[in-house]
């Protein structure tokens, strides 16, 4: 059993308790104030909530590996619930080839081809929503609807069964946390959902022109193996939906709460790109990820023993007053560059450009039509062990000319 050094702050708080997931901000502030590294007694893991240490740990893949799992489960000693991701849960050298293939397929220049059609799709969706009501739910009607409309098409999976993507992603992100009630709730459908997702990753299931087909083409060139191809497609389907839905919900929620910022965007549409990243900083859709120490490693004055899990609070780092001025404000005048909401280093979110494009399309379409909006009823969170997520954000809009 590990005996914490006397200077190491120890906490018995549970970051995965439902009330903390409901509102993680007080816990995060305590964590940051307690010290650069804190020992979480309940799970026997080290935690970091300050930007400096979170950034350093994310960047240092040599000392903080992902291959033992980026959840609480330590793959050195435990069997993962599904075959590990060859991107997220892999270290160099195994990580190199899948990452290089996906990075090339999802880089900004490659996405230029999708830009015009996604902007049109966003206009169509926004028109549909606004033509039927001036009160609606931004989560269901926009934040979830838009990615589900454009992203599975871009990957190239068939129409039927797309409703499985969200519950699959929800469970995958719950499973990074401890085996609590949220994981138990998803367990009964795991086999069915995993089975469906795995079927979509097969070459035959994918259209000829999407990201999925490009991944298989990379396997034909030998850039990855044919065994790796379906797992790379799986990564897109796991990580590309829930995260974007919550990122979009975050930016829409942020604007509903900050009418003056919406007015600013209406005046200067180029702020649409900044807005999404500011929202990812402010309400980080991925709140936490774990790493595992590859040897006895010093961090923030603490020696973290080999094999120990480290829980990095991306959301806490993104609101660390040591790094950000007035961090609790959603402010388009701020430059959010350098936030760790997408991670940092070799595992930095490979799909970030996709998410930004989706957001830019949706916000641009809304800015054209919506003059102002406000929260129209109680906002309900959706609790997830890893994601900052919403069940419902009801709004009332006033349309512009």
């Amino acid at each position: 059993m590990f005996a914490p050094a006397p200077i190491l702050p120890v906490s018995d708080a549970d970051p995965f308790a439902l009330d903390v997931l409901e509102d993680p901000l007080p816990f995060q502030a305590d964590l940051r104030d307690a010290g650069p590294v804190v020992y979480l007694q309940r799970y026997g893991v080290f935690a970091m909530g300050r930007y400096e240490q979170v950034h350093a740990a994310l960047t240092d893949w040599q000392s903080f590996q992902s291959g033992a799992g980026v959840g609480l489960s330590n793959f050195r000693y435990e069997t993962p619930w599904r075959p590990p991701s060859i991107l997220l849960e892999a270290d160099p050298p195994h990580h190199d080839a899948p990452r290089a293939v996906l990075a090339k397929i999802l880089r900004p220049r490659a996405l230029q081809k999708l830009r015009a059609s996604w902007f049109r799709d966003a206009e169509v969706l926004v028109d549909q929503v606004l033509s039927t009501a001036t009160e609606f739910d931004v989560v269901a009607d926009l934040a979830a609807a838009f990615p589900l409309r454009v992203f599975p098409d871009a990957v190239g999976i068939p129409d039927s069964g797309r409703e499985n993507l969200l519950p699959y992603g929800d469970h995958a992100f719950n499973a990074f946390g401890p085996a609590n009630g949220l994981v138990a709730k998803g367990a009964p459908r795991v086999a069915e959902l995993s089975g469906w997702v795995n079927e979509q990753c097969a070459r035959e299931a994918l259209t000829a022109d999407g990201f999925g087909a490009q991944i298989w083409a990379a396997a034909d060139r030998g850039d990855i193996t044919h065994e790796q191809a379906p797992l790379v497609v799986r990564s897109l389907l796991t990580a590309g939906v829930d995260t974007t839905v919550n990122g979009l919900a975050a930016v829409l929620y942020a604007f509903a709460r900050h009418p003056e910022q919406w007015a600013g965007l209406r005046e200067n549409r180029t702020l649409a790109r900044t807005a999404f990243d500011e929202a990812v900083r402010w309400e980080s859709p991925v709140q936490t990820f774990f790493r595992t120490a590859t040897s006895d490693t010093e961090m923030g004055g603490t020696m973290i023993p080999d094999g120990k899990k480290i829980l990095m609070f991306l959301g806490a780092a993104n609101r660390d007053p040591r790094r950000w001025e007035n961090p609790d404000a959603f402010d388009l005048a701020r430059n959010p560059s350098g936030h760790v909401g997408y991670g940092m280093g070799i595992h930095q979110c490979v799909g970030q450009h996709v998410a930004r494009l989706e957001s830019e399309a949706l916000l641009t379409a809304l800015a054209t039509r919506v003059e102002s909006w406000e929260i129209a009823g109680p906002v309900r969170r959706h609790l997830n062990n890893t994601l900052r997520s919403w069940e419902s954000v009801p709004v009332r809009v006033r349309l512009g000319q």
Binding site: Y51, E52, H55, A56, T59, D60, W61, Q62, P92, P93, H94, D96, A97, A100, R107, P108, R109, D220, R221, G222, D223, I224, T225, Q228, T270, L271, R273, T274, D277, R322, R323, N335, P336, S337, G338, Y342, M344, G345, I346, Q348, Q352, H353
Partner: protein, 324 residues
């Protein structure tokens, strides 16, 4: 203020210090480079190279041949090119331990793809990108062979490092054994679905490419360092950046990045890694010639010159016009 080491304000890869320079074979020196403040260097994978930027404005590419697990130093091997344009002569004759040299990248046009079996073929200094590949093949338990040709044994660098691998390495100095028996090795590779990696002088690459002309795409992987024509020169002087959408013009001084200059002018541009690896700050170039120093764009995109990563890339021309 932030302790964030990537927000230091200076280009991440602008200048590295030579902390060791040693002769490793006849006409070959190995350089070890480190950031002057000792900070982490951008990550790389086998096959990656960096650009060295010489005081004359000339740039040359050198493969990284050190240990990627060491985040604080880069190691390269430099052959004195008898008919070169001065880059290698500068490294051999002028550049000394303690000097600071301009560095771009790393970029990787020669990545190691997953395979059960590899045949590595090196000619002379072409051994450098293959060294980390071999270490990696060893690490993942792949089956591999290296055929290493060179003029004479004494001109062939890193032989002592390779000696540890025993008979997986076929050392073939021309003055002792003539040209290596490529057809036999390549025929064996073809029969076993082996990935073949070749780096070396043009005639060696040509011979291998001829032999493998009928092979499936991707089985043979070669790297050729074509000296890039970057226009007049990389600039030491300031240059102008015009922001077309904002109607502003800013001057980028030698020590600053385009990103810094644009932001100082009040134009918000998203960036993330600040070392030319993530692509977040990619910006459309409307006029002017960017001096690409990122590790994201491929050769076609770089030569098209219609976009750049402004966190690290600079300008070859007096003026750049950006779509900002």
């Amino acid at each position: 203020m932030s302790q964030n080491p990537v927000s230091s304000g200076a280009p991440a890869d602008a200048a590295l210090r030579v902390v060791a320079k040693e002769a490793v074979a006849e006409g070959v020196v190995a350089l070890t480079l480190r950031h002057p403040t000792g900070r982490r260097l951008p990550d790389w994978a086998p096959g990656a190279h960096i650009d060295l930027v010489f005081p004359t404005g000339l740039t040359r590419q050198y493969s990284l041949c050190g240990d990627r697990w060491d985040a604080h130093t880069y190691r390269i091997g430099v052959l004195r090119e008898p008919v070169g344009r001065g880059g290698s002569a500068y490294v051999h004759d002028e550049l000394a331990e303690g000097d600071v040299v301009g560095v771009g990248g790393p970029r990787n046009n020669f990545p190691l793809v997953p395979s059960q079996r590899y045949l590595f073929i090196a000619g002379g200094i072409g051994i450098t990108p293959l060294l980390p590949m071999i270490r990696q093949a060893e690490l993942v338990g792949a089956d591999w062979t290296l055929v290493y040709g060179g003029r004479t044994r004494t001109s062939m660098a890193f032989r002592d490092e390779l000696a540890a691998y025993g008979d997986r390495v076929v050392v073939a100095p021309r003055d002792e054994c003539g040209l290596p028996d490529l057809p036999t090795h390549l025929a064996a590779a073809d029969a076993t679905d082996t990935r073949v990696y070749v780096c070396g002088p043009g005639p060696l690459l040509g011979a291998v490419e001829n032999y493998c002309a009928h092979w499936p795409v991707g089985q043979l992987r070669t790297e050729r360092f074509v000296p890039k024509d970057r226009g007049a020169s990389l600039r030491d002087e300031p240059f102008e950046v015009e922001l077309a959408r904002s109607g502003l013009a800013v001057t980028v001084s030698p020590g600053a990045t385009v990103l810094d200059a644009v932001q100082a002018a009040g134009v918000n541009v998203l960036s993330s890694c600040r070392e030319g690896t993530c692509g977040t700050c990619e910006t459309t170039v409307l006029a002017g010639a960017p001096d690409h120093r990122d590790s994201v764009l491929d050769d076609d995109e770089r030569s098209a010159g219609d976009c750049m990563l402004i966190c690290v890339s600079r300008s070859c021309s007096d003026r750049l016009v950006l779509d900002l």
